[in-house]
Amino acid sequence: MTRDTQHITSDTVPVDESAGPDAVVSARELTRTFGDFTAVDRISFDVGKGEVFGFLGANGAGKTTAIRMLTGLLSPSSGSAIVAGHDVATSPNLIKQQIGYMSQRFALYDDLTVKENVRFYGGVYGLRGSELKDRRHAMLRKLGFEHLEGERVGGLPLGWKQKLAFSVALLHQPSVVFLDEPTGGVDPVTRRQFWELIYEAAGQGTTVFVTTHYMDEAEYCDRVSIMVDGIIKALDTPGRLKTDFGVDSMNDVFLQLARGGKRS
């Protein structure tokens, strides 16, 4: 799904309300400071239902701080954000229940089996008994992982772990899932299978908020924002960003914007 959005290339504060009343993630002048350092500087954007939103930026641009605010782990210094219908500043615990999250560093427990991991995370998100069991079976069947139920997660190839972790993050059917570099180091085939899972989830109405250092993956997003030094420097569909910057690839868009950054 793509939408008309305003395109931001200046240092003005972007306000993109194109996702309208459908917005599942809605940030307004969201800001976080640490002492005299402004990690995230008045960012504003909306992400719609079922949208695949790429959240890009150089190392140190403020992405992780922004994601920690949007997932209820860090309170904003000023500004606001509504995620899955709840205010991150006042209801962080409600947000944690209603979103899915996975990253390359934090996904599943290596020492637990596949089944134990699913039961653990399902339990954390309030799923019980036969409902949890049914969803577990359906999920493993879909991945073709039924035979792996009793396997320790630590023994699985990274790509399988990442697909499993993504499915576990969706087990409680959250309205939005945050994926922080989910495909780092994953082989090119599994990386594409992972994106096919993303499309499938988005097709079923789940909003996907994803970060990546693979610029080809930026092309797979409905819209992409690029953070530089704490602000959102550009936000639009990959097609329009490439047109506006007069380049052929998102890699070139990224290099043009991020080269101006001071923090990397």
């Binding site: 073709g144 990959p238 890699n251």
Partner: protein
């Protein structure tokens, strides 16, 4: 700046039949490979392919089960002490002391090799000078790109003749990645032999030669990136169309002469089942265009394209488009 050539000729790396298992599970099987003196050689493969196992044996911290390897003629098992003196190694995980400052880390690594930062300053300056303004900052507080520069400075502090880098650019943004490869180019100009492992297929183009690695085995013979890419062996075209990518993929995968269809940035790369030839490429283009028209995608762009290393990697490992999905 002093160059390696003032001290000794650049060294080469030879690997003959190297293998390693962990608790009976093979991590690496029968690897044969040679890196020529002064070459920038890329070992390209995903996490878990066996790259780190191979590099750890070369840097003498892991013993091989089978086969031999040597650095500049020195055996990595028998002559491990001598090997360590001519090697610089940057492990995959951040390897510096987080509680020490930038300067203290560099001084520590210099002292381990019996030298000093002052003595080696000219050699590491082109890289170290970029982080020198932050000399008194704790290593833990550096950004990803700066950590990488410090780790490389530490690996270079004893003027190694061979540099072994394990995924130096993983988790690093596209700008810092480009800068890092620019630094490797400069080291190459100084005559240093470099063996670098990376999961980023696009970085293959920055190497003199590459080897693809997956599941502990090399996929095909090492060669230049251009030659590896050209050896796809099948016709390749690319398709672009507005609308749902999953729907487009499923149409393309349903075409009888199509081996696989995979997203590639804003395009979809379509590999044919035939052997590569101009005629096969024309046939594939016509068949795909006809199928797309039938399926209602008459506006689609369909054109020939040169294969990339990533196309070849996927073709050799199998995958979803070929019906071999895990």
């Amino acid at each position: 700046m002093k160059t390696v050539g003032e001290h000794a000729a650049p060294a080469s790396v030879r690997i003959d039949g190297l293998g390693k298992s962990y608790a009976g599970t093979p991590a690496l099987t029968d690897i044969h490979l040679q890196v020529d003196p002064g070459e920038l050689f890329g070992l390209i493969g995903p996490d878990g392919a066996g790259k780190s196992t191979l590099l750890r044996m070369l840097v003498t911290v892991l013993l091989p089960d089978t086969g031999t390897a040597s650095i500049d003629g020195l055996d990595v098992v028998k002559d491990y002490r001598a090997v360590r003196r001519i090697l610089g190694y940057m492990p995959g995980r951040f390897s510096l002391y987080p509680d020490l400052t930038v300067r203290e880390n560099l001084e520590f690594f210099a002292s381990v090799f019996g030298t000093t930062v002052a003595e080696q300053y000219d050699f590491v300056a082109p890289i170290y000078s970029q982080i020198e303004p932050f000399e008194s900052r704790r290593a833990a507080d550096l950004s990803g790109g700066m950590k990488q520069k410090l780790a490389l400075s530490c690996a270079l502090i004893h003027q190694p003749r061979v540099l072994i880098l394990d995924e130096p650019t993983t988790g690093v943004d596209a700008v810092s990645r480009t800068e890092f490869w620019d630094m490797l180019d400069r080291l190459k100009a100084d005559g240093i032999t470099t063996l670098v492992a990376t999961p980023y297929m696009d970085e293959a183009a920055r190497c003199d030669r590459i080897a693809l690695i997956q599941d502990g085995r090399l996929l095909g013979q090492p060669d230049t990136p251009a030659a590896v890419a050209a050896a796809l062996g099948h016709p390749l075209i690319r398709v672009s169309a507005a609308g749902s990518r999953p729907a487009l993929l499923s149409v393309l995968r349903g075409v009888p002469s199509v081996l696989r269809a995979e997203v590639f940035g804003s395009w979809i790369h379509v590999t044919g089942k035939d052997h590569a030839s101009d005629a096969a490429s024309d046939r594939l283009r016509e068949e795909v265009a006809a199928s797309l028209t039938t399926a209602g995608w008459s506006e689609a762009l369909v054109e020939s394209v040169a294969p990339t290393v990533e196309d070849v990697f996927m073709a050799r490992m199998g995958g979803p488009g070929s019906g071999q999905a895990a």
